[in-house]
Amino acid sequence: MGLVVLGISDLQVSNKADDILITYSLGSCIGVAAYDARAKVGGMIHYMLPLSKISPEKAAIKPGMFADTGIPLLLKSLFTMGATKDNLVLKVAGGSHLMDQNKVFNIGERNYLILRKLLWKNNMLIKSEDVGGNLSRTLRMELATGFTTVKSSQGVREL
C-alpha cells in the first residue's frame, strides 16, 4: 500500500489501486479529491489561495498553490490518465475560518467560492463536501474504490 502524503500546495494523481492519497491540516486551504471509478484514476490537491495573480512566479513553480492554476492542472492530469468529465466525482474539504466575525481573514471563504466558480464554468458539480467552520481537517482517499473520508475534531466521516 502506498501512502501518498500531500503537503500544502501539492497536487498528486495516481492510477495505482493500492495508493492512498492523504492531506493533513486543512484550515483555510482546500483539499479536493477527484475520482473516476471507470478509469480507476484519482487525484488530490491541497491549495492555499484562490488566485495566482497575487504571485505568478510562485504559480509557475507551484501551480498547486492556487485554485485557478491547480484545479485545471488536476483535472487535465486526470483526463490525460483516462478520466472523463462525466465520470469524475469531486469531494471537497477545508475552507475554514478563524473566529472572525469581521471576516478580515476570509481566505477560506474565497478559496471555496473560486472553486465553485471554476467548476461551474466547466459544468462540473461537487458530490459532497465538508467545508467552513473553525475546524482543521484531514482528507483521505483510497484509489482502489474512491472511498473518501474527512477527519476533524468532530470525528471521521465518509464524504
Binding site: 484550515g27 483555510s28 497575487i54 475554514s96 475560518h97 478563524l98 472572525d100 476570509n106 482543521s136
Partner: protein, 290 residues
C-alpha cells in the same frame, strides 16, 4: 495549590536558554547593531557557524555565488538574517519537543513557531517595519508557554473545549477560565524570567490579544496577525485547532490588505522550506547546553 499557582510554579524550573541565545537577544536592544558585532558573538560556536555558512549559500536567504568564510556569510546574509538564523538554531532544540495536552508532536510546535517567525518577517518587509529581530523572535517563541501548559490543558481538555463550543469563546480565553491562566501569559512569564527585552515579552504575552497591551505596538500586532495567518493555514496546529480570534483593530492599525496577506501566504511556503532545511540539518544540538 490551585491550578494557576501550580502552573506558575513551573516557570522557574523551565529550561534556561543557551547562553549564546541570551547574548544575542540582548543585542536586540541595540537598534544599530551590525552584522560584524553579531558575528563576533557567534564566531566561536562551530555548529552555529556551520548553519550560517549553509544559510548564506542557500538561494532564498543568501546568494547563488558560493560563500566560503564566516565574515563573507555575515556580509551576504546581512544583520537581520544572521541574527535570525542564529537565534532559530539555538532555540531549535528548546522548541522541538512534543507537547501533550495540545497534541502537538515535536515537529508541530517547531513548525508552527518557525512559520509564524517567518510570516512576521515577511509582513514586516511589506509594511517596512523596522524591528524585524523582535517580531521574528517573538514569532518564534510566542507559543513556548504551551510547553508548560500542556500537561494541565491535557487534564482539563474536555472542559476547555466545551466552553469553546458552548460559549463560542477562543481557546486561550477558555484556558484562562478553566485553569486561571493561559499559554500566552505563561510564555511571557518565562520570557521575563529570561530577562528578555520588554517589547519581546509583550509580543509573547499579547499574541492572541493585542488590545490588552498597555499601548498599541506594531510588533505585537504583526506577531498577532502572523500567528492568526499560520493557524488558519494549518501550520503545525494541535488539538486546540483554529479556535482563535483575530483582532480587527490590529488589522486596521497595520493597514494590512487582503492582497498583502495573500502575498505573504504564497511567499511563506518556499521561505519555510528553505529556512527549515538550514536549521534542521546542521548539527546544532551540541550547543544547546552551553
Amino acid at each position: 495549590m490551585n491550578a494557576k499557582d501550580q502552573i506558575v510554579s513551573k516557570v522557574s524550573s523551565f529550561p534556561t536558554l543557551p547562553v549564546m541565545a541570551g547574548r544575542l537577544l540582548t543585542l536586540l536592544n541595540k537598534p544599530d547593531v551590525t552584522g560584524a558585532e553579531i558575528g563576533k558573538v557567534i564566531q566561536f560556536d562551530p555548529a552555529l557557524a556551520a548553519n550560517l555558512m549553509k544559510a548564506a549559500n542557500s538561494v532564498y536567504l543568501g546568494s547563488s555565488h558560493e560563500v566560503a568564510s564566516i565574515s563573507e556569510a555575515v556580509f551576504r546574509l546581512g544583520t537581520k538574517w544572521v541574527f535570525q538564523i542564529a537565534v532559530s538554531s539555538l532555540i531549535y532544540s528548546n522548541l522541538r519537543r512534543p507537547v501533550g495536552g495540545y497534541d502537538l508532536s515535536g515537529e508541530d510546535l517547531w513548525r508552527h513557531s518557525i512559520a509564524v517567525a517567518i510570516t512576521a518577517d515577511l509582513i514586516s518587509r511589506q509594511l517596512n517595519h523596522k524591528d524585524v529581530g523582535v517580531v521574528f523572535t517573538g514569532g518564534l517563541l510566542h507559543d513556548m508557554g504551551k510547553i508548560i501548559m500542556g500537561e494541565y490543558v491535557g487534564e482539563s481538555f474536555e472542559e476547555i473545549q466545551k466552553l469553546v463550543d458552548d460559549e463560542e469563546i477562543s481557546f486561550e480565553e477558555a484556558e484562562r477560565r478553566v485553569l486561571g491562566i493561559d499559554h500566552a501569559e505563561i510564555g511571557a512569564m518565562v520570557a521575563e524570567n529570561w530577562k528578555f527585552p520588554v517589547v519581546l515579552t509583550a509580543c509573547i504575552r499579547y499574541h492572541h490579544n493585542p488590545a490588552a497591551a498597555p499601548e498599541p505596538n506594531q510588533s505585537i500586532d504583526i506577531v498577532h496577525i502572523a500567528d492568526a495567518l499560520c493557524l488558519m493555514q494549518g501550520y503545525g496546529i494541535g488539538r486546540d485547532g483554529i479556535s482563535y480570534r483575530p483582532d480587527p483593530d490590529a488589522v486596521t492599525r497595520l493597514n494590512i490588505s487582503n492582497s498583502i496577506l495573500e502575498l505573504v501566504t504564497s511567499q511563506l511556503v518556499t521561505a519555510l522550506e528553505e529556512v527549515d532545511n538550514v536549521i534542521k540539518e546542521a548539527p546544532v544540538a551540541q550547543t544547546a547546553g552551553r
